[in-house]
């Protein structure tokens, strides 16, 4: 077609735009309000964490994952420590695994609540944002109670956990997960029963299963399109194979199906947490391997050997064998993998983060092709990107 007769408008959305969920820039080509092309421009939140992880010891690196993806913090820590544990070939004690799963699932609910609130506010249901953040705050309170921090916990350790659960943890968790299904039902009444919400999400931002697989989408974006891939199920890690839960699937692959999938995932997470509470047996939360985990403090006054181990671990850190591992977990956004190369020193020689947000975001142009401008916002919200995770 002749360039001159093409009556299109190129609109630059972002990087500072109210609804791009961070610093995402989209170059959108419009014909009226119809989207003909979208080009996501990323990199505005590039932090260089991957590179920085090469300059620190394995234990020091635990603080980076939650900063890469700041909504599902515990899951990020889990992903990293699992990768290092795979490198070392160790497995944490049973109690630590159970607690990790509880923390991960609480994080998943917290992350999905942020998604629910922000995707509602993107179609102007501003109240739901406040409700969701209130609920999320209760979960963050629990995480703070456990780790001492609301978000950047640093609670997990290679080979276990920093310390055991505090008193009153179980009641606090039960109070939240007993409330959660009722709250979710309320939100579904507010959104799912609302004709306008249905009209805004049903058949919007459709991604069929082939495209989803082609773009390497994972998580609710892939499952919304009907592909039953959940890392917890496909490649169980950290003891997930012992838990009963369902992997909800969508059919149409539109924004509404992704919404349904995430709502159901929150319920399933509650279910997993309930099972985990039942499984919680007393026991150690850190491996008894002095080359990996710090010795308990009481040993330090008695044993010279413990002091040496303590000194070596703190000053030098652990030295995994030479090799490389890839280990993935199911984050709220999809498959979150850590690829770590070890040259036998106390620092990783290469760390690469496989972030689901990055792959999922690449499918955006396909989703919004020939939709309206207003649907771009719905599509971005339904992908649930975290820009820190995209750019790293």
């Amino acid at each position: 077609m002749n360039e001159l007769t093409r009556e299109t408008l190129v609109l630059n959305m972002g990087p500072h735009h109210p609804s791009t969920h961070g610093v995402l820039r989209l170059i959108v080509e419009l014909e009226g309000e119809l989207v003909l092309g979208t080009e996501p421009v990323i990199g505005y939140l590039h932090t260089g964490f991957e590179k920085e992880m090469e300059t620190r010891t394995y234990h020091q690196n635990i603080v980076f994952p939650p900063r890469i993806e700041y909504l599902a913090t515990m899951i990020e820590e889990h992903a990293y420590v699992l990768a290092v544990e795979k490198l070392l070939g160790i497995r944490p004690p049973a109690r630590a695994e159970v607690i990790r799963i509880m923390m991960a699932e609480l994080s998943r609910i917290a992350s999905h609540l942020v998604w629910l609130g922000t995707s509602a506010v993107d179609v102007n249901v501003s109240s739901l944002l406040m409700y969701c953040f209130n609920d999320r705050e209760r979960i963050l309170d629990i995480l703070e109670m456990v780790s001492g921090q609301r978000m950047m916990h640093g609670y997990m350790r290679i080979g276990g956990l920093q310390w055991d659960l505090p008193d009153g943890f179980e009641q606090a968790v039960r109070a939240v997960i007993d409330d959660m299904p009722g709250r979710l039902e309320e939100y579904e009444r507010l959104l799912g029963d609302n004709l306008i919400w249905r009209k805004r999400t049903e058949g919007i931002a459709v991604l069929n299963a082939d495209d989803a697989l082609r773009y390497g989408c994972t998580g609710p974006v892939l499952r919304g399109s009907g592909v039953g891939y959940d890392v917890r199920r496909a490649f169980p890690y950290g003891g997930y194979d012992e838990y009963e839960f369902e992997v909800p699937l969508g059919r149409a692959g539109d924004a509404y199906d992704r919404y349904l999938v995430r709502m159901e995932e929150m319920r399933q997470s509650c279910r997993i947490i309930r099972q985990a509470l039942e499984r919680l047996e007393p026991g150690p939360v850190l491996v008894d391997d002095r080359k990996v985990a710090l010795p308990p403090r009481r040993e330090l006054v008695r044993s010279m050997e413990a002091v040496i181990h303590q000194f070596k671990l703190v000053s030098e850190g652990i030295r995994p064998p030479v090799g490389e591992v890839y280990s993935a977990v199911e984050s709220p956004r999809g498959e979150k993998g850590y690829y770590i190369v070890s040259d036998g020193s106390n620092r990783p020689s290469r760390v690469r983060v496989r972030s689901a947000s990055f792959n999922n975001l690449q499918a955006l142009p396909v989703m919004v092709f020939r939709n309206q401008v207003a649907d771009i916002v719905v599509a971005i919200a339904s992908i649930d990107i975290v820009l820190g995770d995209v750019d790293r």
Binding site: L9, L11, N12, H17, P18, S19, E33, A120, V121, D122, V123, N124, V125, S126, S127, L129, M130, Y131, N134, L190, L191, N194, I196, W197, K199, R200, Q372, V373, A374, D375, I376, V377
Partner: protein
């Protein structure tokens, strides 16, 4: 001469009242939204945040009168004025109450009882659209342009539905004067005779005032602030003024046309009028806290394919009913 000075005094009082209403509408909305969203809302300035509008006003007044490069200066400055003035003009004909005695003089609680009052309101609000179109056009910004295009399309289509609902009322009352329409409702409010008309009016009025769920022109998630994007300081306040007064206008109009205007037992007429209008304002804020926004094409489809046909049907039924009543 006495009449003229009386009209001047009444205008001054009215403008003062409207400015206060506008200021406190913003506070009311923020407070109520706060309650809906389980938070406090503004409570820092003055007791219960009651001086917040004052602080906002002062801030907007003292802001730099910024103007982006390459705007069409005259149109850019005229646009908010149009919105503000047209929203005020409407109040010349809205009756707040019947005649009252004031220092031995009989004073009407309306500026003018024009025999085509309702037409005047519709005309004024149609001209108000120019403020939005011109504002978006002159700003030299793509978001503004998209917002103003949406807005003009929306306002023109919903004006039609609004007018159709009003025509049904006019047919029922047999007059175009708002005072006479209110007086015709002394026995039975028109909402009982025109339930469909009222619903059409309500939906159209929400769209007409750019309120959620039809607040597309300034859909902040997509268009940043729509036609207002490039406006700041007092020019922004003028747009806002037009918008909030528009809400009060539509509430007052709904009260006048369907809910008996100032009619009501025990309480003074003006109080009844204010109360009924407040209920509508509350309803509009409630909607904003609850409803998702519809998409532009869905909005247009709803207006043209549903509201307008139903409005026409309503007029046909009303006309037949009026003729049957007369014979």
């Amino acid at each position: 001469m006495a009449d003229l000075s009386l009209a001047a005094v009444k205008s001054a009082v009215l403008i003062f009242l409207l400015l206060t209403t506008f200021a406190y509408m913003t506070l009311l909305e923020r407070k109520l939204l706060g309650k809906f969203q389980v938070r406090y809302g503004p409570n820092r300035v003055g007791p219960l945040g009651l001086l917040q509008p004052l602080a906002d006003g002062v801030k907007l007044l003292f802001k730099e009168s910024f103007r982006p490069a390459q705007v069409d200066v005259i149109v850019y400055l005229v646009a908010p004025t149009i919105t503000m003035v047209t929203s005020l003009v409407v109040y010349a004909v809205i009756p707040f109450g019947p005649e009252v005695s004031f220092f031995g003089r009989r004073v009407t609680l309306y500026l003018a009882d024009v025999n085509v009052g309702i037409l005047l309101i519709l005309a004024a609000s149609s001209i108000g659209v120019y403020g939005i179109i011109l504002g978006g056009w002159s700003s030299n910004n793509k978001y503004s342009l998209l917002g103003s295009l949406r807005s003009s399309a929306q306002l023109i289509s919903y004006e039609l539905a609004l007018s159709l609902a009003v025509i049904a009322v006019v047919l029922t009352a047999g007059t175009l004067s708002l005072v006479e329409i209110v007086e015709a409702q002394q026995r039975l409010w028109f909402v009982a005779l025109q339930p469909v008309g009222f619903l059409i009016f309500l939906v159209a009025a929400i769209a007409e005032t750019n309120r959620a769920p039809f607040d597309l022109p300034e859909a902040e998630q997509e268009l940043v602030a729509g036609y207002q994007t490039e406006y700041g300081g007092f020019k922004f306040a003028m747009f806002y003024f037009g918008e909030y007064i528009g809400i009060v206008t539509m509430s007052a109009l709904a009260t006048t046309l369907f809910w008996g205007g100032w009619n009501g037992p025990l309480l003074p007429p003006v109080v009844w009028f204010a109360l009924k209008s407040f209920v509508f304002i509350f309803f509009l804020i409630w909607l904003r806290a609850t409803m998702p926004r519809v998409r532009h094409d869905q909005l247009m489809a709803f207006g043209w394919k549903f509201l307008v046909p139903v409005g026409l049907l309503n007029i046909v039924v009303t006309s037949i009913w009026v003729i049957l009543r007369q014979t």
